[in-house]
């Protein structure tokens, strides 16, 4: 599904933030991406969701060399990837329901065709009673769950989550982890970036560890 070969990344003329990174992510796999702050986790995630291009090396995503993709190919691939941002990136003028339905709206689907689906998912993430609320009114945990629901609504094959438990208390973090595990079991490949060791200890999965721009694996 995803293949990195000797990938290097630098911003402008600065030093390389990622060096010789090579790994593969298979379909229906689950992995944590971890490492200290500033190790390059977010940069690696940005490479994974095509927000950045590598300065060297080869990245293939769903069999495509990312350097050869045009804007329309990138949009088409992004529809197969779900992303949960650390800062949620919900649109403040849209309700929880509208935020979660946005990926389907972007695909040009008729609102009536997905209304029940979106409401069902919002119930599943525990936001059934917050459908018509605007994000500024939601708590950190609620925003997190709304962001997760938005990433899941289009049934992505590959889910990327950047510190999805960073803003919530431990019980809610455990609940969210269970949600990701459940999603993985239903067939989605998951990359969960976190520096929360306690969280990783709760689920036995592959760990991709980034340190000073280099990647190694732990089990």
């Amino acid at each position: 599904m995803v293949r990195f070969e000797n990938v290097g990344l630098r911003y402008g003329i600065g030093p390389e933030v990622l060096r010789d990174v090579s790994f593969e992510i298979g379909p229906q796999s689950f992995q944590f991406l971890t490492g200290p702050s500033g190790a390059g986790k977010t940069s690696l995630l940005r490479l994974l969701f095509l927000s950045l291009r590598p300065t060297r090396g080869l990245i293939t995503l769903f069999g495509n060399d990312v350097l050869r993709l045009g804007p329309d190919d990138i949009a088409a691939l992004r529809r197969r990837i779900g992303i949960v941002f650390q800062d949620f990136r919900l649109l403040d003028h849209l309700t929880t329901y509208e935020n979660v339905a946005l990926p389907l709206r972007v695909q040009g689907r008729d609102e009536r065709s997905y209304r029940a689906e979106v409401i069902e998912l919002l119930h599943w993430v525990g936001l059934g009673d917050r459908l018509h609320v605007l994000p500024p009114v939601l708590s950190g945990g609620e925003k997190q769950r709304a962001a997760i629901a938005r990433a899941l609504i289009s049934r992505p094959e590959f889910l990327l989550a950047d510190e999805p438990t960073g803003n919530v208390d431990p019980p809610l973090a455990r609940r969210l982890l269970r949600l990701f595990v459940e999603l993985h079991r239903s067939g989605t490949a998951v990359v969960l970036a976190t520096h929360d060791a306690a969280l990783m200890d709760q689920h036995d999965a592959r760990r991709l560890v980034l340190a000073e721009g280099r990647l190694h694996e732990e089990r």
Binding site: D72, A75, R79, T95, L102, V106, E111, R115, G128, L131
Partner: protein, 313 residues
């Protein structure tokens, strides 16, 4: 189970109509609306004025070509009255001529009055005499043969078919039309540039939204569409305000001379204000400008959003 379904159905019916992905307030401002309204007003005035000039020039030219003049200069040793008679005969026998008559002495002296004063005895001066020739409508008179016949048989008679005047008037009216369209082009370019600046600002203000849309797989055309819709609305609204104001102005200036003519000294005032009454075609032209401005606004915003998105990418 049944209760849960009923609850979901109730929730489903509470969903509001989907809000705009990019909020209107963050995209278009009142200032842009005013700029578009003013630009449309100016463009509509130009179209109306150009239409009036063309119409008036065409009217003058039609009147002018319906009448030509034969000038008979006195020639020594010839009786001018006889030459006038011959010229009238020749003119009357020409195809397309409705009538030809010599201007009476009184008419000629009235024509010359501003230059030579009143109480003039034409017999004392070797003045040319004029023959007014009225032409039939829809028949092309044979001026060349008329000119040749006059030269041959009527001494001192020449034909003035106002061709020079007509050509000059046509040149002036064409120049005004071209200048009008050039100014219209400039106004439209200025509108495009204003919209382009506003669009760049709107995309910059809503960059976070644009990024989210990209990350969830929106094509550039979808993102451009979300902005374009707002600009189409503001273009139409501004266009209607500006075009409506221009149409109203033409309507009022069309009525004013009529109203003034009822008042004392009204005719003079009406002469000063002129007759600015637009016909149906003129108002259709203004409607066309409104549509054109809305389209230009939409197109300018679409192109600018796509350029800006390429820069962001």
């Amino acid at each position: 189970m049944f209760l849960r379904r009923r609850r979901r159905d109730a929730e489903s019916s509470l969903v509001r109509p989907a809000a705009a992905i990019v909020p209107r307030d963050g995209v278009t401002s009142r200032a842009l609306l005013m700029v578009i309204a003013i630009m449309t007003f100016v463009a509509a005035l130009i179209v109306g004025a150009v239409g009036l000039v063309r119409e008036t020039a065409t009217q003058w030219r039609t009147d002018m070509v319906r009448e030509v003049t034969i000038q008979v200069r006195p020639v020594e040793g010839r009786d001018i009255a006889a030459e006038i008679g011959k010229a009238i005969e020749i003119a009357r026998s020409t195809r397309g001529v409705l009538n030809a008559r010599s201007l009476t002495r009184e008419e000629t002296s009235r024509l010359l009055e501003p230059w030579l004063g009143s109480g003039l005895d034409l017999n004392e001066l070797p003045l040319p005499r004029l023959i007014a020739v009225r032409l039939a409508q829809n028949v092309d008179p044979d001026f060349d043969s008329l000119r040749a016949a006059l030269k041959k048989d009527a001494a001192g008679a020449t034909l003035d078919d106002h061709r020079t005047w007509s050509a000059r008037l046509a040149a002036v009216s064409d120049a005004i039309v071209i200048a009008g369209f050039a100014v219209l082009g400039l106004v439209l370019v200025a509108t495009m540039l204003s919209v382009s600046f506003a669009t760049r600002g709107a995309v910059a203000t809503n960059r976070a939204i644009v990024e989210v849309l990209h990350f969830i797989g929106a094509h550039d055309s979808f993102v451009a569409g979300t902005f374009q819709r707002h600009f189409l609305a503001v273009g139409l609204k501004g266009g209607l305000i500006g075009g409506g104001a221009a149409a109203l102005l033409f309507a009022v200036t069309g009525i004013v001379p009529g109203v003034l003519s009822w008042m004392p000294g009204g005719d003079e005032a009406a002469f000063l204000t002129g007759q600015f009454a637009l016909d149906r075609q003129g108002y259709l032209g203004i409607a066309g400008i409104v549509v054109l401005v809305a389209l230009v606004t939409t197109l300018a915003s679409r192109i600018t959003v796509r350029w800006t998105l390429r820069e962001i990418e």
